[in-house]
């Protein structure tokens, strides 16, 4: 009979049992393949055993005499002993920790009648927190951990209450009737009658139920099965058990904090030190906050700019949101609904084309992380009107920190779900922030083209001249041009904001973010883009429209630009319908366009981008390009160089590639020929370096294609990457 339940689809029959559902979502109960009740019981028993052992080991009673052989002697083990390893030393340390925990626990949901203030619950919470902190000494106890633990215990409690209700109403299934049963010689007919005797006051229908477990409604059936004391591991394996609530809560808490082999691990949010292989060197919670801001800038750029202008840094309010998973912002019932959603999201790292083992996963780099980030953004969006109306940072912060209680959680969750895909994309984009951008460190994500890979020491990023990035833009831009993007409303917003700030005369193309974002797999800092745009806007029109588009589209994705109030991207680019696609490797362009047209999500088609970017790189020797921090001056100064660079770039392209449509290039040539000569010398070294980088990228692309198997697109991409490599070698031989 257990099989019928499980065959109905694993986790779905536990929907009403939050405790079980969350355990599945957190990964402590196996959720795939569809587990049988016995499997669940076994796993449950295992983690319970682990907790019991941990408890015995760590909760120190200094009076318990150790066995004589191990006793270190009284000199070591007296209460005043300075020895930190002595039992007494540990005892005093535990006492300190307990004091800290108690301070927080007394303030947990202090309203009267609250379950959390009952002594039993408080004792359990205290023990669980103490044991977790003792077994993870690197984190210690931080305020907020108790708020993460409390709802976990609560849902278990609710489940157990449910169980007792069911027990009361369906006594027959729970009663072990046979123990006092006397044998009747008459056989079966009397047997059935005796059952009726046991039913006592139960009505007919309950006696009917007694015959067949499957006649119960599914949820009750599940409850009965989960509380069966005779299954695998007998009592220890009862999935819904009051006796082992503490064990279950501990395991859930541990899974939540450690991420259970997934990506989002709450413990990281409490640690002040930089996350593992983080490149930005900021603590994870700051990274996560900036990722969230990044998403906001993609989704709603004016609001984002407004907040940044005011100086409202994300971590001021999002620290609390993230650390307790929005526990402080919503009432308990709402919070449970929200956590249902969060835990339903998978926590495995987003699959990406990984070329290097050293690629980093950002701290929010999973569907669950994307949902968290998206939900935070939807919360900010809810307050949009009032935030935009306030003119100073303090009141903005106040509004964000005192999030209104009467919000419609379903709406927020729905909005978050809609943004979740976007968040996942944004998370996976590489936005390299040059180190001097301290306001919002980019969350560097592993990517096949990631320059964060081991072959690129971080310092090199600062040294790479911006012109390298420009080339990539141009390449992207070219192939993006003829893309019919799906119009996302966010992009128009972003573009508008950009134009307001930059005041460019450029008009924008109709191409759109999803292809943009896919193609913008290249990390490009914003500054050059803006400068380039300005340049392009100011003089070249048709000739550089291609470049404009690349820049523009690049910019729309490169939201993490501090200099320009992050995320504002030039919108009004003049948009000549360029036959300039041909500037690119037409084969490459068409390949990537084919790729991008096929799918919206970033993950699968990133491969299409690299070759495009690479080809651009391979073609252009960049001019020396100094990114000025001051945008106004930068624009003018860089403008000249930009022009020469672009000219040279185009010239070289024309020189190498076939099928380049001459119009644009020639136009560029004419204007740029003169200036070309000046910068030739400077550029050689830089260009060599860039070529090297381009080659590497191509190689990475090919590697990634091989790694991910080879769909048709992959082969095409690989071919184009090989083409690029060939071109680069040609170029090198020519030099």
């Amino acid at each position: 009979m257990p099989e019928t339940t499980s065959s109905r689809g694993g986790s779905h029959c536990y929907v009403e049992l939050r405790g079980v559902q969350w355990r599945l979502g957190l990964g402590i109960l196996p959720s795939s393949p569809s587990p049988s009740i016995d499997d669940l019981r076994r796993v449950t028993a295992n983690y319970r055993r682990r907790y019991a052992a941990l408890r015995k080991q760590l909760l120190v009673d200094p009076h318990v005499p150790k066995d004589g052989s191990n006793s270190p002697g009284v000199v070591m083990d007296n209460p005043l002993s300075q020895n930190p390893d002595s039992m007494w030393g540990r005892f005093f340390r535990n006492a300190e920790l307990e004091k800290m925990v108690d301070q927080d626990l007394t303030r947990l949901y202090p309203e009267t009648g609250s379950y959390f203030q009952t002594t039993g619950c408080q004792a359990m919470l205290r023990r669980i927190l103490l044991l977790w902190c003792l077994s993870h000494p690197e984190y210690g106890y931080r305020q907020g951990m108790h708020e993460l633990l409390a709802p976990l215990l609560y849902v278990l409690h609710v489940d157990v209450e449910r169980l007792s209700e069911v027990e009361k109403s369906h006594k027959d299934h729970f009663a072990d009737k046979f123990d006092g049963f006397t044998y009747h010689e008459n056989g079966d007919s009397t047997y059935k009658l005796d059952f009726k005797k046991f039913d006592g006051s139960d009505s007919d229908k309950s006696s009917a139920k007694a015959n067949n477990l499957t006649e119960l409604d599914p949820v009750t059936q599940t409850i009965v099965l989960l509380s069966d004391p005779y299954g695998a591991e007998s009592e220890l394996g009862i999935v819904l058990s009051k006796k082992f609530m503490e064990h279950d809560a501990y395991s859930m808490f541990d899974a939540l904090m450690s991420g259970a082999h997934g990506v989002v691990s709450m413990a990281e949010f409490f640690s002040p030190s930089p996350y593992g292989s983080s490149l930005t060197g900021f603590s994870p919670v700051i990274e996560a906050s900036s990722a969230m801001y990044h998403l906001l800038s993609v989704v709603d750029s004016p609001l984002h700019t407004h907040l940044v202008e005011l100086g409202v840094e994300p971590q001021y309010f999002s620290l609390r949101w993230l650390r307790v998973l929005f526990g402080r912002e919503f009432s308990l019932e709402d919070l449970l609904l929200l956590w249902d959603e969060i835990f339903a999201c998978d926590n495995t790292k987003c699959k990406k084309v990984e070329a290097e083992e050293s690629s980093n996963c950002g701290v929010l780099d999973s569907p669950r992380g994307a949902f968290i980030s998206a939900f935070a953004v939807s919360m900010i969006l809810k307050l949009r009107a009032s935030l935009l109306a306030t003119g100073n940072a303090t009141s903005c912060l106040q509004k964000l920190v005192n999030f209104p209680n009467d919000v419609n959680l379903e709406k927020l969750v729905a909005k978050a779900k809609s943004l979740q895909a976007l968040a996942a994309e944004v998370n996976s984009l590489n936005s390299i922030m040059l180190v001097h951008n301290e306001v919002k460190p980019a969350s560097a994500r592993g990517h096949s083209l990631s320059l964060d890979s081991s072959s690129y020491p971080r310092t090199l990023l600062n040294v790479v001249p911006e012109s390298y990035w420009e080339e990539k833009w141009r390449v992207l831009h070219n192939e993006e041009e003829h893309k019919q993007g799906v119009g996302k409303e966010e992009v128009p917003k972003i573009r508008k904001g950009w134009s307001e700030r930059v005041k460019l005369r450029l008009s924008r193309t109709e191409t759109d973010p999803p292809p943009l974002m896919k193609t913008v797999s290249i990390k490009l800092p914003e500054e050059p883009s803006s400068v380039i745009r300005s340049l392009f806007g100011s003089d070249e029109n048709k000739e550089n429209s291609v470049c404009d588009e690349v820049v523009e589209q690049q910019g729309s994705v490169e939201v993490a630009d501090k200099k320009f109030g992050s995320g504002e991207i030039p919108l009004n680019f003049s948009d000549p319908p360029s036959p300039i696609h041909g500037l690119e490797n037409s084969s490459v362009a068409s390949n990537s366009s084919v790729d991008e047209n096929e799918a919206e999500s970033c993950g699968t088609h990133r491969e299409g981008c690299p070759p495009v970017g690479v080809s651009a790189v391979s073609n252009g020797p960049p001019s020396e390009y100094d990114i000025q921090n001051d945008e106004s001056t930068g624009k003018s100064v860089a403008g000249v160089k930009e022009r020469s660079f672009s000219g040279k770039f185009l010239w070289l392209r024309k020189f190498e590639q076939n099928g380049v449509e001459g119009a644009t290039c020639e136009g560029c040539d004419n204007s740029c020929e003169s200036s070309k000569g000046e910068t030739v010398d400077q550029n050689t070294m830089v260009s060599l370096r860039n070529l090297g980088e381009a080659m590497l990228e191509n190689i990475q692309v090919i590697e990634s294609v091989f790694e991910t198997g080879s769909p048709e697109n992959g082969k095409v991409t690989a071919m184009s990457a090989l083409n690029e490599l060939r071109k680069i070698s040609n170029l090198l031989s020519q030099m």
Partner: protein
């Protein structure tokens, strides 16, 4: 799980300049809940120092104490145990167990803490326990030779008291442990 520190006969500054450094390093504030001092601390500064170790200080008057307001004897209850404190110079013969047992019955305490002999002793007899923590500074005594600095830490836990004796012998701190269990009759 109450930690009680018992010490006395410091005679600072008349016979000794200060507690031994090793003792001082062990007496960190925060661990000990009560301090019992048998007397003869001699001056107020030492009284203040003992207060910093723990604010709950019980002290009785020794014959060399400058502050005459200390009581001759004192009793207090910690957990399940009744403790009595007296300096001991009032009880003659000095250090005699029977006489001290008389005082213990008089005070009706389970644990009697006295000093004056500058020597650590811990007797158990049918009525209870008599503990002498010795001299914490190892001050000169006219009735004992070769005085080693010593003090006592009692760990009172329910019906059981564990007495840790800390002695400074040849520059090293030696610790010893004695268990006493209270019978529930009293």
């Amino acid at each position: 799980m109450v930690l009680v520190l018992a010490l006395g006969d410091l005679h600072i500054p008349h016979r000794a300049p200060d507690l031994p450094a090793k003792f001082k390093s062990m007496l960190v504030p925060g661990k000990i809940q009560h301090v019992i001092c048998t007397g003869n601390v001699s001056i107020k500064e030492v009284h203040d120092y003992l207060k910093t170790v723990c604010s709950d200080l019980h002290i009785t008057r020794g014959e060399y104490d400058v502050d005459s307001r200390y009581p001759e004897t004192k009793t207090l209850t910690i957990g399940q145990f009744k403790l009595g404190i007296c300096h001991g110079h009032q009880v003659i013969p000095w250090g005699d167990l029977d006489s001290l047992a008389m005082l213990q019955r008089q005070l009706d305490v389970d644990i009697l803490v006295t000093g004056h002999t500058h020597q650590f002793t811990a007797y158990k007899h049918e009525a209870g326990v008599v503990i002498n923590p010795g001299s914490a500074t190892g001050a000169f005594s006219s009735i004992t030779y070769d005085v080693n600095p010593s003090f006592v830490l009692m760990d009172i836990d329910g019906l059981r008291v564990v007495v840790y004796v800390y002695e400074l012998i040849d520059g090293e701190v030696k610790v010893d442990k004695i268990d006493f269990k209270k019978t529930t009759t009293s």
